[in-house]
Symmetry: C2
Subunit: 476 residues, 2 copies
């Protein structure tokens, strides 16, 4: 049965209108899934976006396409008329403030979802801001402040894509698997505190969002071109933010270039350097031991915060958590060139989609320090399977789109929760939805540690007593 | 006129036989040039090599091809019978001791040339040796010890390819150009001391062998494959040696991981880490500011040694010198993967040759710290021009082959000099020969410094007073 004639299950009914802001790689990727599973017809959807990308897809699907950039000045007028109670505001743009959009959605009584806590354009590269002020930690704190201010109300899901997003749901399932496999007795957690206690009981020391994207095309990267499988602006922005990680209680000392933030939840630290120049050792089942970039991500902070155990005011347990990202090979080269040019963006961009000839996006969580060493749990979606599953997608975009769909379904089913993070969603329900688009979801234990093959030809400053110290993970 | 029917100028007459050991990318590349320009017929050439690579080329050219690995045990028997007085021993192998081959050549009265001071196989990866013992510094010292022992005799050119090799000759020409352009009065140097005085008079602080190889193919690097434009074994070996550099008198302090060697000329230091994990800022005219790997090379040490000025025993001037190598993009990825896998070599190798679709090898010397800032001088040979110039070549191999040819011509013309290094050859004559195969040889001044765009988004520990400190060059 061809895609066109397949009848797809309705996961939830979106009764109102849908406003989609941003129609780049993710916006285009998610549209087919929304049309299939949320019982919303194209005439109820409006797209507002800053450039012509996605115009063809919108036309093909019969969706209104407004090409106008959302700004601090125009957003109430431009977007407000498209939002009423019961509508859904899906924000998949770059350079548009998530916090302002959340507030607008709340005022209009609309549901809301984004995949990242985004600031207004320019903030990532503003040298008048400190690294701490340019961090995802600060952006998340601004979202948390709004949440405290607004309290309960129409649901707004913050940062629910693949990562941030899906990985928080995978982490919960992975914790339950490790608990089962290590015979750790526990009650099924039903609260944040319950989940944090479980992580602590397992002895979880560190979590990587461990990703290896092997998608390639036959057109080599050209000099002066940034090539990626998702937003190039998005990747460059986050790559130029400071490296950030949730900072575990097992860590013996701050990195030499590490610092705590002067405000907020204190679950994370940052390094005084761009994440795209910060490299870490990690492991995925198909790739084995690899080096990833420690790109800052919202989930690095939210996970560490969520899994914190306190006794009174005192933090007695918290895992280290961060991203360890091996992007597609062409993006590794693009980052190398970008850094060589003092972080001045290349004049050309190429977002690979149709031209991809092979590869998978192996994206999951790596749980380290428990009784069975290391356990990876995630999606191993290939480009071939992604294309079979949905049009306008690569393996990378489909994982994100699946996370968006799962989050939207949850929001529609739980419409009055106020602002929530990915860690707080019902992971069972969200995974049930996502699994339709993730390809093989696999778990694998490994005896890999970051001490493997260290200090062989050169002496190295490593901590032999605890493999899971960040000091051992980091590539210097 | 097709290549086959072009009549080529004889640069020097090789009267005896030619023994070529090793017939990989460089061996095959140099054969057409030797046949064209040294007046030697194929029946006077014998190839001894460890595998079948090059058998087809040898067959096509009518050259005897013996497939047998040279070992410590068999080399006198295997090679000795092919060497008599007046013959030429061209060593283009890996894993065969240069010093032992030089000694054999001397004993037989044969001329000799190699492109690297190579140890017997295994030494680069022997964890029982210290980093200093595995260094090119130590290998060069072993060659210098033999030279002291043997004194004058049949000429043996040590380490004359492109780099090491050609770049030493380019450096001399570049110094004269900078002297002219800065109006520095000097007498034409005729001795080592004279050249060192000139470098000092110019205020030369640092020299990079600055290379950007942009050659690409349409077949993307596969996972588990090391791809390069020249010897993969050679590159991995040198990449796993310690990073090494000639250490200039302007440097204010040793790097935190730097060390001096316990013996020898003391012109260089090493870092306690593999060169393939050590990155530096550099500049070439076409690429602009780029990041290269600080791979150890013989010339880094020989140049610093050659351009040392002493007053009595005291060293009063020496430039910093090292390699800053941006290999072809597929090799950058290969190194990233290799390091991720704890320096365990990939199971597959691919040496790109016919499949290259575009690109140049921009290889030259970058002279820094003189009155005009930075000056790059070198070859910008494209794959297209390389293919027009000679069969069995890429841009990379042809630059090396040109250096070999130049060195052989000089050795034939100067047959009784004993062991000599690239810095000691008559650069005018050698360049005259090489220029036939280098494509555009270009000079370019630049106001680039390693302080450009530093400390913009993150504070950095840089030396503002002297841009040319190694501390500023290094990427941490
Ligand atoms: N959580 C995740 O897993 C995940 C994964 C990928 C991307 N993302 C995020 O999703 C967002 C979109 O990613 P993408 O790959 O589609 O990016 P993209 O660069 O392909 O597209 C960005 C879109 O935003 C639009 N846009 C830019 N400025 C705008 C403005 N001022 N007003 C309205 N629209 C504007 C552009 O026109 C474009 O359509 C980014 O913020 C990215 O960080 C999250
Ligand atoms: N100075 C320069 O500019 C420069 C540039 C490139 C390569 N090189 C050096 O030249 C050498 C050859 O480079 P390549 O790219 O041709 O390498 P390659 O890997 O393509 O070929 C190496 C050759 O050595 C042969 N070999 C290996 N072990 C041997 C043994 N025990 N006895 C005899 N032959 C043996 C192999 O069979 C092969 O033919 C390497 O040492 C490399 O470092 C120097």
């Amino acid at each position: 049965m061809s895609q066109a004639t397949t009848r797809h299950e309705t996961f939830a009914q979106l009764k109102g209108k849908l406003l989609l802001v941003g129609c780049g790689s993710i916006g285009q990727a998610v549209l087919p899934l929304i049309l299939r599973h949320l019982d919303v017809s194209p005439d109820r959807i409006t797209i507002v976006t800053a450039d012509s990308r996605g115009r063809d897809v919108a036309a093909e699907l019969g969706i209104t396409f407004i090409e106008q950039a959302v700004t601090r000045e125009n957003y109430r007028d431009l977007l407000g008329s498209h939002l009423s109670a019961g509508d859904f505001f899906l924000n998949l743009s770059v350079d548009v403030s998530s916090v302002d959009m959340m507030l607008l959605a709340r005022e209009k009584g609309a549901l809301y979802l984004d995949t990242v806590v985004e600031p207004w354009g320019g903030a990532y590269f503003d040298p008048s801001l400190t690294p701490s002020e340019r961090s995802n930690y600060a952006l998340r704190e601004s979202m948390l402040a709004l949440r405290r201010e607004l309290g309960k109300g129409p649901t707004a899901v913050s940062a629910q894509g693949a990562n941030p997003g899906m990985v928080s749901q995978l982490l919960k399932e992975a914790l339950l698997i490790v608990a089962r496999d290590t015979g750790t007795s526990h009650t099924q957690p039903t609260t944040r505190e319950g989940w944090a206690d479980l992580a602590r009981a397992l002895g979880l020391k560190a979590v990587h969002i461990a990703e290896r994207d092997t998608q390639v095309s036959n057109t080599p990267k050209r000099v002066g071109e940034f090539v990626n499988t998702w937003s190039i602006d998005g990747f460059v922005s986050e790559g130029c933010q400071p490296a950030e990680m949730g900072w575990g209680t097992h860590e013996k000392g701050l990195p030499h270039d590490g610092a705590r933030h002067p405000m907020g939840c204190d679950a994370a630290i940052y390094l005084n350097r761009p994440g795209a120049s910060t490299r870490v050792r990690t492991w995925t089942p198909k790739a084995g031991p690899i080096i990833g970039f420690l790109i800052t991500h919202n989930e690095a902070i939210s996970i560490a915060d969520y899994y914190t155990v306190r006794e009174g005011e005192k933090v007695v347990y918290r895992p280290t958590s961060h991203y360890a990202y091996h992007p597609c090979d062409a993006a590794v080269l693009s980052v190398h060139e970008l850094q060589g040019n003092g972080w001045q963006q290349q004049p050309e961009q190429r977002l690979m989609m149709e031209e991809i000839v092979s590869g998978i996006d192996e994206l999951g969580v790596l749980l380290m320090g428990h009784a069975k060493g290391a356990f990876w749990y995630g999606s191993q979606l290939s480009i071939e399977e992604a294309r079979e599953l949905a049009p306008h997608n690569s393996a990378t975009s489909l994982q994100v789109a699946a996370g968006v769909l799962g989050g939207m379904v949850w929001a529609i089913e739980n419409p009055a929760e106020g602002i929530v993070e990915a860690d707080e969603l019902d992971h069972v329900r969200v995974l049930e939805v996502m699994r339709n688009y993730l390809g093989p979801v696999t778990g694998a234990y490994s005896d890999w540690t970051p001490l493997d093959r260290r200090g062989v030809l050169f002496s190295e400053d490593i901590d032999q007593d605890d493999p899971w110290q960040f000091k051992n993970i980091r590539v210097l």
